[in-house]
Symmetry: C2
Subunit: 458 residues, 2 copies
């Protein structure tokens, strides 16, 4: 057996330990539950699509990162996000779908980025989108943050901020400041960096005359005024008041201010507490995709993580595939990266990592009583495993201990004769003889307590 | 917009309608719940692996069907089953894992088979395996059928048969009949076809002298005796009695008979009812993988479907990657194909296809009361969606109807003034005014009834 192949997993591909996987599944399940509670349908599109479909819009960076190959005559690409497959799905099934179409999808996507710590080439995205047929009420844009709050709090993350902006406000301001349309994308890209490099450096980049390629060469006073509006801190009301000073100068800006105001008005109605969101005019999110409201969500204690939940409003989902006009609004959570960070930072709640409620250890050669008790536990809604192997007593106990199984049931001749079980609490070491029903009641109580716990302890 | 790309999904890749997807998720969730209740941990390995790893053992057909490609210097393959990735995982993490290691994995696998109706190139497998370190008690082999019964009945499929055999019995009989080791695989392959082509044709193939390649050329009397043992119908006891006549002639056979007897003995202990399983000595399942107990599960009314849940005992999971001896036993469900057939045959229970409990339709311009009621419904554990679009009343109702949402709540000025809601049962058309609490109670009752339903009505 010297010809063994060294077992290994591809670099940048997450593969969890069993207990970690249980926590990952808990988080996934929590997201599904919250999404479903708002009326989103599940969707599951293929991992592989025709390259022509996935790359209709892509360019530059995306093309370099994708996993693309041919099989027979077919040019295939592994999906790099869940939005393009959604666009294809909605265009393809537009006649059968009922609009507004609300869907969630939690699935793996693939990007062959340079491997580095905490960056993955295969990772889960957890998306929701609401797609309208021709139009979609702005109130949907206000419901999204309430879903984000629900998601975060259901996971156990309470100290976070949703930053909200509107792309029409940004574009309108560019109009006011005489920034040409074909420069807007560059300006946005630079402004997007304000949190990373600071206001001064952003100004430097905006006014620089000879960067590589084309220079923006904005005049310094314009840059100052632009940055004053965009990066001015204050309450949401103060920011809106500042914006109102520019009203009447640009139609797009006026529409943007109105939309932003409506979203903020309804946000209150949705019961989203004031400390959970703020207007931040520097948020841009991607260059040409979003057209209205945009969101980013940061964990206050960990700004270095960046946004854990982002998204926004777009004018037309599937323009590459259909002439039907399909506006929408949605958000995406980078689940693999979020999990990685929570795990690294020891924020995951290990109380939720036991998938087995009780290990049943038969002390006699005949297993029938163990089998009977295990079936009884399962009928009660519990997860029960019998330890079948002929190992020493110590090793059997160690098994439960290592897997984090909270209780053991021993079935010796005495217990079987008395129709009882010996229940051992692995945390306290206490052991007590009781009926199987009594044991089930204790286990159910513990389970309910574990289920009430959040996935994250932050 | 004449440059539209025609939206389409790859042939052989399942993509469901929203209501179908809800049912698929229900089935997946049911499998997860049953697997967890027996103490299996979830596992999620990457879709992509090093080709060297996945193809360590593969040959012939597998190599032709796989999706394999290079990115940079890396030779990659999309997994074609969940067993090889499991072998890699266990070999790689053998020092951290606790044995017996019980895991379930429900994930997509890829096989570029010729596309045909009901055959998929991307499909879900739902696997469980129990892996021992050095040894694994035979009782595990008896627990597996009780899990199959639990899975099938939890789905709502009650009329099925688990066929059980033992590869040692087969190999032992071959020894008795003087069939050489290097011929055993061919004989097994031919005998495996008995259900499809009948005993006579199997005999013809066994005794043929000049097939393509090498002929088996078994002498007709031996073929008769072999087929008599293997295909003889009777009770499990009668089949065992027939086998017992050959005891003492071959060690492997004797071990096989003992194992089979033990599995049958414990099956009773596990409460598996006699009409759910039977010994069938023609079951072989693959050529060189399984080494002991093997299972197939067929739906009695639909033998043409073939086995919906198969598996067995293997001696050594990961011999290509590690010298550690890892025996195991497991089963696999071809979930995509199973779903496809149940859907085609109209066996899916549409009562479970509504992911939204209630559609809240505001009849006033202000949505705050709708938002408040929807939050209240969600706090009660319900799924509630507000219809935000400014459409005609008829269209709003039609929305609930098309999505199969069972109830609507109307909130007009009267209801809001009285702090009540108007609840409409979409099935009966009845509408009643009541408090939101009363409405929630009715919705919860309906939901509990829907949850108690099985996924399949067969």
């Amino acid at each position: 057996m010297s010809n063994l192949i060294r077992p290994r997993t591809l670099s940048g591909f997450m593969e969890l330990q069993p207990k970690e996987q249980v926590l990952f599944e808990e988080i996934r399940r929590t997201l599904e539950r919250v999404y479903q509670s708002y009326g989103f349908f599940p969707l599951d599109t293929p991992v592989l699509e025709h390259s022509e479909i996935l790359l209709a819009k892509a360019g530059g960076e995306t093309e370099k990162q994708i996993y693309r190959f041919s099989k027979g005559d077919t040019d295939l690409t592994m999906r790099f996000d869940l939005t393009v497959p959604l666009a294809k799905y909605v265009a393809l099934h537009q006649n059968e779908l009922v609009f507004p179409f609300k869907r969630y999808q939690i699935g793996k996507v693939y990007r062959g980025e340079r491997a580095q710590k905490g960056r993955f080439r295969e990772f889960y995205q957890a998306d929701i989108d609401i797609i309208g047929d021709g139009s979609l009420n702005i109130v949907n844009d206000a419901e999204i943050p309430s879903i984000i709050v629900d998601v975060m709090q259901s996971l156990g993350i309470d100290d976070f901020t949703i930053r909200i902006n509107n792309r029409k406000v940004l574009n309108g301001l560019f109009g006011v400041f005489g920034i040409a349309n074909d420069r807007a994308a560059d300006v946005l890209r630079i402004i997007d960096k304000v949190d990373k490099i600071g206001v001064d450096n952003v100004k430097k980049e905006l006014t620089a005359c000879e960067p590589e390629g084309e220079a923006l060469a904005m005049d310094p006073q314009t840059a100052d005024r632009l940055l004053e509006v965009l990066t001015g801190r204050g309450t949401n009301e103060e920011i809106l008041a500042l914006l109102e000073q520019y009203r009447g100068q640009n139609e797009t800006l006026d529409t943007g201010i109105d939309e932003l105001k409506q979203v903020l008005y309804y946000l209150g109605g949705f019961g989203v507490s004031q400390d959970k969101y703020r207007v931040d005019l520097t948020i841009a999110r991607g260059l040409d995709y979003y057209t209205g409201t945009v969101y980013e969500t940061t964990v206050n204690r960990h700004p270095e993580i960046g946004s854990v939940c982002s998204g926004g409003r777009y004018d037309n989902l599937a323009g590459y595939y259909t002439s039907k006009h399909l506006p929408g609004v949605g958000i995406s959570i980078g689940l693999t990266r979020l999990f990685y960070i929570l795990n690294e930072q020891k924020y995951l709640n290990s109380a939720k990592s036991a998938p087995v409620d009780v290990l049943i250890i038969p002390m006699t050669d005949d297993y029938s009583e163990a089998v009977r008790v295990s079936a009884q536990m399962r009928r009660a809604g519990l997860s029960a495993q019998i330890y079948f192997e002929k190992k020493k007593f110590k090793q059997r106990i160690a098994y439960a201990d290592k897997l984090g199984i909270p209780y053991c049931i021993f079935l010796g001749e005495d217990e079987i004769a008395q129709q009882k079980v010996a229940l051992k609490d692995m945390a306290t070491g206490q052991q007590e003889t009781m009926t199987a029903e009594e044991a089930a009641a204790i286990l159910l109580k513990r389970r309910a307590a574990a289920e009430a716990e959040k996935c994250v302890r932050m």
